[in-house]
Symmetry: D2
Subunit: 335 residues, 4 copies
């Protein structure tokens, strides 16, 4: 079940300390100009999000294995892979028996009978989001003229992100944050009532990103404190424009032409250098655990570009269902 | 796209002022004892949630049309339908040109080219949740021994729900709320990494419920203010039990055996009796709109039973994928 | 798993001797004019196929339960149901222990642990094809300008169908046949390489029809005796027209603009009046079985209209994927 | 749409003259012992099928990129890739404008607006079946104790396959054939009524294999000439064993415990050395085409191992749906 999408389908594969991670994209229209260098900006944003942070340096160079010919997508599946080079597996050899709090070590071992690749979290690693970002680069081109921007607005409960991170570094601890994502120029009519509402498919994808604990659209949790007379967005004109945007650009699960707005809560990075308590899964005894190496102080810093990616992926699929993206991209397209 | 699920699949159909609403359940195991009277408790909870509220009284009697024989499911698709009797369509005749703020009237008209059944919201009506509740009754039996309980904990920003509602009635306005849902006795190992994480599939279904604006698991949005050293749930024993439960019972998208906990934000009911502004979609002119009739003051009152239902539906599918529910229910089962 | 399709999805439900059979159609565009009387021609063809045959007379009147408003589809799911009235269940009471050769009585009992509705074959009954024919009527309107025609060309091994049937009646036996289906005006480019080739999706649907034992496209089994130099269809012009059509209108799984041609083999009706051997599933003893009542001598007579229906359903889905059917049917459309 | 399966899902990617072809397998249980050398037998059968034949020699060495750790599957997606080394793309440079009869050159160009990788058929190449065979090797281990055997029984209309091929070589032409596939030790109860009948899902996958023109189960097309009294398989005992097996091991879409038997028709190889007629797609003029290089005389020789693979893949999925394959393979398993 490592795939998502109805027409524009993505599947991710790989492990943190295996040979590769990557993404297989099925249903990408033919004729989209695409080159490896177009990925660098978003891949760099994902990497450099990691301030005060992990010393694992990977090149993160995308290899377009299939589905692109002479610089254009062919209509066949696009496989994009990233080689893992800088792996130090011995760091993780104890994870099999000593699960790290907050990580998937315990659940993965139970679910897969101990056969899971536990090195660095294996298939559960945040490194898998490389494939999401890569697919997002393609999706962003397809959803033209929609523009998507995500931003870390709060870290550790403070709006001064820089300061909060410095404080966390000093405390040798990790902090979480809130990331807001806005998509503009979204046409009216994307999404379906009920099971494929925009909120449903977006949240489905968003919770694929590790460390996300919550999502809210428009007024979100604040709506629970409002009166209906305040909350209802009053229409201004027949294009659907409203004065306020508490709906977050969605009514009845369907985009209404106003900006699509949502926010996510990101938990503090689970890997911290402080001593924690765990259990030896062989003996059942409680044990102290000290995670060595340096890790992201605030994983939320890396989330914006991933959030943009999954938003673009979801919107691509929804636009395709509404015939808003052609099955073959015309030659002179600006996409 | 009015269906959901991998093995246990549900599809809903119908319109607020059509002949019926209902649900088609595919993939229900054979051998589950089921009778129409078993639905009455949850259907009543859904109905009587509507305090201070709509005068539309429907019998909400489920008709099991197919898939049940001699009191047991047969393994064939189960169709459950509810007749609409108490419809007064003339009340809604203006909705075609005068969309109600906060409703899907505008987006539905745009998406379906004006062909949508706009009476009472048509297919977008909250009445469609009858099918969800009905499917939930079956799902709750299947997921035995898991128990699910949802509760409205906050209304209009206050923990005294009764008082908040009285106040809203006095103000002739509507209010929102927060509903918490807890599933206990969940086994370890449900869910998949990434795209079919428990959070992904649960949020997908939860946002199918009208009026939901946000969802958070465990620590949720509060996690963004915590340190990692506080947030990480420390393990107590080799069964995965933890001291705290900020994870909400899920690590890496997979259940860890602790209670599954999440909360949703419900917006204030969109239908209010106060005069609102809309636009005449024919002329493009602004118009005043007064919604007549009485409506739910706090739609969040009806949400708990629906939330339990979709949680049970999702868990059924996840348990089936893990072979935790047999393909044929044994005769002497307590399910 | 009683559903099929990617965008145009159909689900069937019901039992031979239950209250209803029917079909739920999801993904039908809004704006298609549809009335119950448009179904009568194909429903009658399905019924009157039954020459020399079953005395069970059902009205087969379609009830459009949802998804149609003021004579047009709304974009919401379309439920079409057929009431079962003329059921005589006592005829079938022995099927539980004495499975009829050639029928699903044995496999259904095993698969569903004896909980299946065995009366008249239950959910396995050919009566379920009513839903397919009904969905086909809608699909045929959507795929305009494609026209589909299926015909029983051979019965009991003879091209004189009438005579073969008379002979079978005289012998108190049943016969099979071959039905050919041709779709014309199919545009180039429908279907996908490999898993969603036109042959793949069409055969998937065709084998949903009871009693089908084989399918062949174009040259079919005859191709195995041909030389490549004979078999290759030579192109005439740049529109893809070919001199011969051994490909059956498909190359590499994708339509090439020539007529789509395939044939199916239909086995002789399994219900015959001659004494047959079965096994008492309780005791394990061999038993003689005599099926009473009259049955279709040649079920293949009923197949053409069902074949046309499933072909139209599949082509609808494939055309939607290529944006050849609009998401909203324009008002002045001839569909 | 380059993927197939409900729980055991496979996706194929790559092009004949690109860097790689391969398969991504999702849903493989953890704990299955697997090594690269286990693939060699079936990969060799696929390759050496090519008698009298193509001089393209590829190493066909599988690279297990992900999803396997310490010799066992981990439960994460398994990516298996094959490098293309021996590519001579200049041979194919004219295919863009001069489509080869019987190939997908024309349909692919039309469908993908000329952006498809046309070299050697690109993504439509038979080389993509490498991925199917590789996935089949894994599937064959999972479906234990089912054994599957496929065999070319007829070539060029003759049962003496050797002789038929010699004759075709002498004639500088190509021939087709008939391949029979038998699966033994299949348990009762796999498959679903209607849309996921065993015939439906098997034929869906079988027609993914290039060059297949027809499929028939059990009596197949011969059934159309039989009387019902001959065709009905009479039961012998309560396990479902029958005297004859005209049903091919399937009743009502569900396996009955008797051997699963089907046959496919394979067309003559489309690439022949004789001069053929095509059309210059730029000018619209008719042109003569001579395909250089040597090609498989009888592609049907390569089909048996691919047929076994897709049968195993389909049975894996069906067995998983019936819980006949555990979610984690026990350590001491003979699989």
């Amino acid at each position: 079940m490592n795939s998502f999408g109805t027409i524009f389908k993505i599947s991710i594969y790989g492990e943190s300390h295996g040979n590769q991670v990557g993404v297989l994209i099925d249903g990408c229209p033919a004729g989209l100009a695409i080159s490896e260098k177009e990925f660098s900006n978003d891949l760099l944003r994902r990497k450099s999000g990691a301030k005060g942070t992990t010393t694992r340096i990977e090149e993160d160079k995308p290899i377009i294995v299939s589905g692109v010919f002479n610089g254009y997508t062919t209509g066949a599946p696009v496989l994009i892979s990233f080689l893992n080079k800088n792996t130090k597996s011995e760091d993780y050899k104890d994870l099999f028996n000593f699960p790290r709090p907050g990580h998937a070590d315990f659940t993965a071992k139970m679910k897969y009978g101990g056969f899971n690749d536990f090195r660095g979290g294996g298939h559960f690693s945040g490194r898998l989001t490389l494939g999401l970002v890569a697919a997002g680069v393609i999706a962003k081109k397809l959803i033209n003229p929609i523009s998507i921007n995500a931003k870390l607005t709060v870290a550790g409960g403070e709006t001064n992100v820089e300061k909060a991170i410095e404080k966390a570094i000093k405390n040798e601890d990790s902090i979480g944050g809130i990331v807001e994502c806005i998509a503009e120029n979204v046409s009216v009519g994307l999404g379906e009532p009920f099971f494929n509402s925009v909120e449903s498919v977006l949240s489905h994808m968003v919770f694929s990103i590790p460390a996300i604990k919550g999502i809210e659209f428009g007024s979100g949790f604040g709506s629970s404190k409002m009166y209906g007379s305040e909350h209802n967005d009053q229409l201004i004109d027949a294009t659907g424009k409203t004065i306020t945007n508490f709906s977050g650009g969605i009514n009845g699960g369907i985009t209404n032409g106003n900006p699509l707005i949502y926010r996510v809560a990101v938990k503090p990075t689970s890997s911290i250098s402080k001593v924690q308590q765990t259990v030896n899964l062989s003996s059942g005894e409680k044990e102290e655990l000290k995670i060595t190496g340096r890790h992201d102080v605030c994983i939320a810093l890396r989330v914006p570009v991933v959030l943009e990616a999954v938003t673009a992926i979801v919107l691509t699929d929804l636009m395709m269902l509404e015939h808003k993206i052609p099955t073959v991209i015309p030659n002179n397209s600006t996409r």
